[in-house]
């Protein structure tokens, strides 16, 4: 690999990790399409590499949240029973899905993410920052486990964390405070993505040469993002991410119509 390509990958990882941590969304959604569209990686390899980035973000940032006692470790471990099963099944299935179908699913997911980030940005205008954590007892474990199974499935199929599925269910059905739900979801993502990654690895879909510079960038970006996120309003970062995901979705759809992703 040339030095220029390596530095470009470090930069992509840095921005994906940084924006992800700042806006409270997974940065993985922009890494996969960038690799598939501009680096010409087959979808399975793009997802395999993204899974390593997702593990890096989760590992780096969740150590901070666990240290600050925001993460509910026991709840996280319990729900991981379901996310890992979902991830394992979906990763095994993904191997038998062709590249084009996977690209169609991913483009659909990008559009959905763009729309849900617009809503998140709108809500963030009135949200209060950094409040204390009220007492709670997690309720309705069946709902939480079901959502975790689906979130794990998304991880194995599309290489994403599955936060948008788990967090609302923990908040609404399990009655877990938002900050705890977000930190616990982030904690679970590392193990979930690792489960998928082991399967992709076994199928030869984890390109180490591409992953190494990306992961180096993701580590630095997400740590920096998590450090300064309490001081920054997420509205503008979310709107920027909406533009990027919207653009990438359009590029993917254009490429699908012109016969790409074969």
């Amino acid at each position: 690999m040339t030095l220029a390509a390596m530095l470009l990958l470090v930069a992509i990882g840095f921005f994906a990790g940084g924006f992800g941590a700042l806006a409270g969304v997974g940065g993985g959604i922009i890494v996969t399409p960038l690799l598939a569209i501009y680096f010409g990686l087959p979808m399975h390899q793009a997802i395999g590499v993204t899974l390593l980035c997702v593990i890096a973000t989760s590992t780096a940032t969740s150590s901070m949240y666990v240290e600050r006692h925001v993460t509910d470790v026991r709840l996280g471990m319990t729900l991981e029973l379901a996310t890992t099963v979902g991830a394992l099944i979906a990763a095994l299935v993904a191997h038998h899905i062709n590249r084009r179908t996977l690209a169609i699913l991913f483009a659909g997911f990008l559009l959905y993410s763009a729309i849900s980030m617009i809503k998140k940005a709108w809500d963030s205008r009135s949200a209060k920052k950094e409040e204390g954590i009220p007492d709670y007892t997690p309720q309705n474990y069946p709902a939480g486990l079901a959502a975790s199974l689906i979130a794990g499935g998304f991880s194995g199929l599309l290489g994403i964390g599955g936060g948008p599925v788990k967090v609302p269910v923990m908040l609404l059905f399990m009655k877990v405070p938002l900050r705890v739900a977000a930190a616990t979801s982030n904690f679970m993502i590392g193990v979930t993505a690792a489960t998928s990654a082991y399967v992709y690895w076994g199928h030869g879909d984890v390109r180490l040469d591409i992953a190494a510079p990306l992961v180096a960038g993701v580590f630095t970006g997400s740590l920096l993002g998590a450090k300064i996120s309490p001081k920054i309003r997420s509205f503008y970062i979310l709107m920027l991410l909406v533009c990027i995901t919207g653009w990438l979705a359009a590029e993917m759809i254009y490429k699908l119509f012109t016969g790409g992703f074969q």
Binding site: S63, G190, Y198, W201, A212, V215
Partner: protein, 93 residues
């Protein structure tokens, strides 16, 4: 009662930090070495393996910590998660 488990939080955050920083140091060192010598890629590969192993290591740490606290229910839960992760590794091969 379960939430503020300071000891478990400490063990887990240390495990995650150890994995993250070791992986990061090896990957950066490997990327720099790669520019000078061909075996640099082996160092980055080891770094990525450490990254891949960290989540599994974190589950083992949780399992041992819960056993130490005699919280057998969650030790069993952790063991269950570990079993699924190991199964994924085996089925992937």
């Amino acid at each position: 009662m379960n939430r503020q488990d300071v000891a478990a939080d400490r063990v887990l955050s240390l495990t995650l930090k150890f994995g993250a920083y070791t992986a990061f140091a090896l990957i950066v060192a490997g990327l720099l070495l790669q520019l000078a010598v061909p075996w640099g890629t082996k160092v980055t590969a080891v770094g990525l393996l450490v990254l891949l192993a960290t989540p599994a290591l974190r589950i083992i740490a949780a399992c041992l910590q819960f056993l130490h606290e005699r919280d057998f229910k969650y030790a069993l839960v952790s063991f269950g998660v570990l079993a699924i992760v190991v199964l994924a590794y085996v089925l992937g091969l």
